[in-house]
Amino acid sequence: MTAELSMGKLCTVIEDGIKAASPAGELTENVTEASKMGAPREWDSLSFVAVFNAVSEAFNVELEYDDAIHFRDVKSIHEFLEEVMAA
């Protein structure tokens, strides 16, 4: 089921993606609009791909590797999705 894009929903999807890829399954801090790779620290190169896939699935957007550059922080992901989903 495709989710409507909202900042709150996006943060939840990203947080769940990071948790799924993290050995402890918990984060040192919640994902917010200000979050980026490295903050929370569990958002690293390993969980990056999980976030990339989780966002693709949750918002039903087909992503290519060229899109990965937009996935380093929440604001950029949101802006990217707004653009893609409006097209």
């Binding site: 890829a21 190169s45 390993l46 969980s47 990056f48 791909v49 999980a50 990339f52 590797y65 060229d66 990965a68 550059i69 996935f71 380093r72």
Partner: protein, 292 residues
């Protein structure tokens, strides 16, 4: 006052000499960074990590995804340099390492070369070029997780999340390019032949643009004639003697892929792969002007 000195004074730091090494990877870059780090006053990094020590925090901001973007966009390369390799960033890293100069050895320096040399007017680049066939053989594994995923994996190979992340930052053919149209039909060998040629063309282009500040060397010299390599490199980078005139160890003996090569010699490749490798090797042979 130079632009460099001015910007450093603003932040209360001494001017820092920044230089870098660029290659396709699989050119003993970890060893090279460690050897350079042994020279007086030098903090040398391998892909941002001081002395290649990835157990410690990186000395320089890490670069991965920006590499692929920089390949297709000079503007993106300039932005990546402004964000992650500015004079202020370099000065801060050198200060943190207690060094007066900094050298970064990394594959991504090929895509950033023009932007780095433009942003750092005194920077020098050493480009290391290995022969195509041996690079392709060493660049990837056909099965199992690759601990050193420098090149493209076979498209059918299952990959770990770490391998996938690194792959996202690897250069690939631009949309609308002839190589892009064929990309899906190519296996690991053909893709890494492409990677080898494109990366080394970037090194050649940097030499064309900044001939006084770029030196191209053969990896074979590094591996087989280390004395000649270090005499050249020490002079080019104006390195202070470290006690030993030539760093210990031969590059060739420290550049073995831990799991061994899974791709056979060039003569065992498919005819189309062999032809592509020969063509690419010829292109670089014609294009590169070596100093050592």
């Amino acid at each position: 006052m130079s632009k460099l000195a001015g910007s450093m004074t603003q932040f209360g730091r001494k001017p820092v000499q920044f230089d870098f090494v660029a290659s396709t990877g699989r050119t003993a870059t970890t060893f090279l960074a460690s050897a350079l780090n042994g020279f007086g006053g030098v903090a040398a990094c391998h892909e941002g990590y001081l002395d290649g020590d990835k157990a410690q925090d990186a000395l320089l901001p890490l670069i991965n995804l920006e590499n692929a973007q920089a390949f297709t966009s000079p503007g993106a390369a300039a932005r990546a340099v402004a964000e992650k390799r500015s004079q202020q960033v370099i000065a801060g890293a050198a200060e943190a390492a207690g060094a007066e100069r900094l050298i970064d050895v990394a594959y991504y320096n090929a895509t950033l070369a023009y932007a780095l040399l433009s942003a750092h007017p005194s920077a020098r680049m050493l480009g290391v070029i290995r022969d195509c066939a041996s690079f392709v053989r060493s660049a990837t594994t056909l099965t199992g997780e690759d601990p050193l995923p420098v090149g493209w994996a076979d498209p059918a190979k299952p990959m770990s999340q770490r391998e996938m992340f690194i792959e996202m930052g690897r250069i690939r053919p631009a949309k609308q390019s002839a190589a892009k149209a064929e990309w899906k039909s190519w296996g690991a060998v053909r893709r890494n032949v492409w990677l080898w040629e494109e990366t080394n063309l970037l090194l050649c282009a940097a030499k064309d643009a900044f001939p006084e500040r770029v030196s191209l060397v053969r990896f074979e010299t590094f591996a087989k004639e280390p004395s000649a390599f270090w005499v050249h490199t020490s002079a080019f980078f104006q390195l202070k003697a470290s006690g030993a005139s030539v760093p210990a160890g031969r590059a060739g003996s420290v550049n073995k892929k831990p799991a061994g090569y899974q791709i056979g010699p060039q003569e065992t490749w498919a005819p189309g792969e062999q032809a592509a490798a020969q063509k690419s090797q010829h292109v670089i042979n014609e294009r590169a002007t070596y100093d050592c």
